[in-house]
């Protein structure tokens, strides 16, 4: 039973990417890619050969692999609905955040390893924004954990199991703030508009895509799959905060899945109607997300 969230994640994650792309296409008046296109892309890339520059080292080859590994373990930590995750222990939300950070670190290291200026620029931007987004994530989690149980340091599974309709009735305001903060962090971490434009082809405007510019073949497949998993796992975090759990596992699983799809559609809509913010404004946006998390935490301690 504990495998269910993991299996669902591994299977459905690329579908979310396809869904977001389809929503953006609809907004653009186009037909768009097939919904299963990301699967085809990954399959194709796995069968291609990789090209490695002579100026790179083992870090470049290790980057995508470590990133994928980190995100995989993080996925094993994330529950869905009231179904517990494969691995869960007290304080695993910190491990979760730092597994993602590990992945990010190796991506950045691989990017710097190439010696290309574009990738260095992307790396510095990526690290800066992640620094600003991290407090928002952790403080928001602490707020919800405190509200749900009373101590900030519990497992993600327990947090999700405690988000019940009663919790919403009692302190809905705090959950709303945390949800908005998490949404902003989600947009930042997954390189979506308004933080970063995944469809741009101008290197100077990229943040995430430019870091992975030189990867090819199976490495790139790992990166794509890892990005999809990250999309899923952070989405599951938000959905876990927002969708109340009734205690019946099947119903909760179903509602959470529906929530994930709704989230994907929402992200597609946000990407279509907003433009990308100036980089200066992005940092203010993320600090604002931190402010919302702090507000939620402070309101929580106030009672």
């Amino acid at each position: 039973m504990n495998f269910i969230p993991l299996i669902l994640a591994l299977g459905i994650a690329p579908f979310m990417v396809g869904l977001i792309n389809r929503v953006k296409a609809i907004f653009g008046g186009r037909q768009g890619q097939p919904l299963l296109q990301p699967y085809y892309d990954i399959w194709k890339l796995l069968h291609k050969g990789a090209v490695y520059s002579r100026t790179t080292s083992w870090v470049f080859r290790a980057g995508p692999i470590v990133t994928l590994a980190g995100v995989l373990v993080a996925t094993a930590l994330m529950p869905l609905g009231s179904c517990p995750s494969l691995i869960s222990f007290s304080g695993d939300l910190i491990l979760f955040a730092y597994l993602l950070a590990l992945g990010r670190f190796f991506t950045v290291a691989a990017a710097l390893d190439t010696g290309s200026p574009f990738e260095g620029m992307g790396a510095s931007r990526e690290v800066f924004f992640s620094t600003l987004a991290e407090p928002a994530l952790l403080l928001g989690l602490a707020a919800v954990a405190k509200k749900a149980i009373g101590t900030p340091l519990i497992s993600l599974t327990e947090i999700h199991q405690h988000v019940t309709p009663e919790l919403w009735a009692g302190s809905g305001l705090i959950l709303v703030f945390v949800a908005i903060a998490f949404l902003l962090v989600y947009l930042a971490e997954n390189s979506r508009i308004p933080v970063d434009d995944p469809n741009t082809h101008l290197e100077l405007t990229m943040i995430h895509e430019v870091m992975v510019l030189d990867h090819s073949g199976p490495d790139f497949a790992f990166i794509l799959y890892g990005a999809a998993l990250k999309l899923w796992v952070l989405g599951a975090l938000i959905v876990g905060m927002v969708v109340p759990n009734t205690g019946y596992m099947v119903i909760d699983l179903a509602t959470s899945l529906v929530g994930m799809f709704v989230l994907a559609v929402l992200v597609g809509v946000i990407e279509s109607v907003m433009g990308r913010l100036r980089l200066l404004r992005v940092s203010q946006l993320l600090v604002g997300a931190t402010a919302l998390s702090v507000l939620a935490l402070v309101l929580e301690y106030r009672g």
Binding site: L173, V287, L295, V298
Partner: protein, 216 residues
Amino acid sequence: MTAFAEIILVFVLLTNFTLLASARLSTCIRQVAAQGVVLGLLPLLVGPEGPGARLFLVAAVMLVVKGIVFPKLLFRSLRNANVVHESTPIVGHTASIVLGIGILIVSFWFTSRFPLPAGQQPVSTLVLPVALATLLSGFLLIVIRRLALMQVVGYLVLENDIFVFGVGLAHEEPLLIEMGILLDVFVAVLVMGIAMFHISRTFDHIDVDQLSQLRD
């Protein structure tokens, strides 16, 4: 009742943050007006027996003055001064938001050590921390912003804050005094607007950071 009051107070906190983050002056004016209007609803929640006629009058006057009159005055000054948004304040916007977070934490911590005397029935336990946070945010706005208009906006935030404190603690000021206070603030904003007009005419800008000729 309490939940609604809490939503109002939390909205005030959020507008503090957005004021610290905004660079466009028209957005700032609208935000401080929204803050004032939402606060104008607070008197209606005060009192165990529901609002009386006096509180309705206070709320109505507050809504009209803060929601319509002040923005009108400030927009007129804005037009006369011909600025749209200001250059970077003395402390950048991102750092201002971080300072705002610090203010939030400090106010909540500080007011938790100041228990209210017996016999008080505040509208919500959030009144004191929100009042202190808004006070400090108003001061921050006045100090770090360069343009005269932003200083006036900061002054209005201060006035909103004092209103939070006064009404939030269910304090019954005689109607005359409240009207007097409102009248004074109105005339103050009027005079400040006139002064800003003169400043923009004399200096061709409203950057008060550059008004530093008089010194020892």
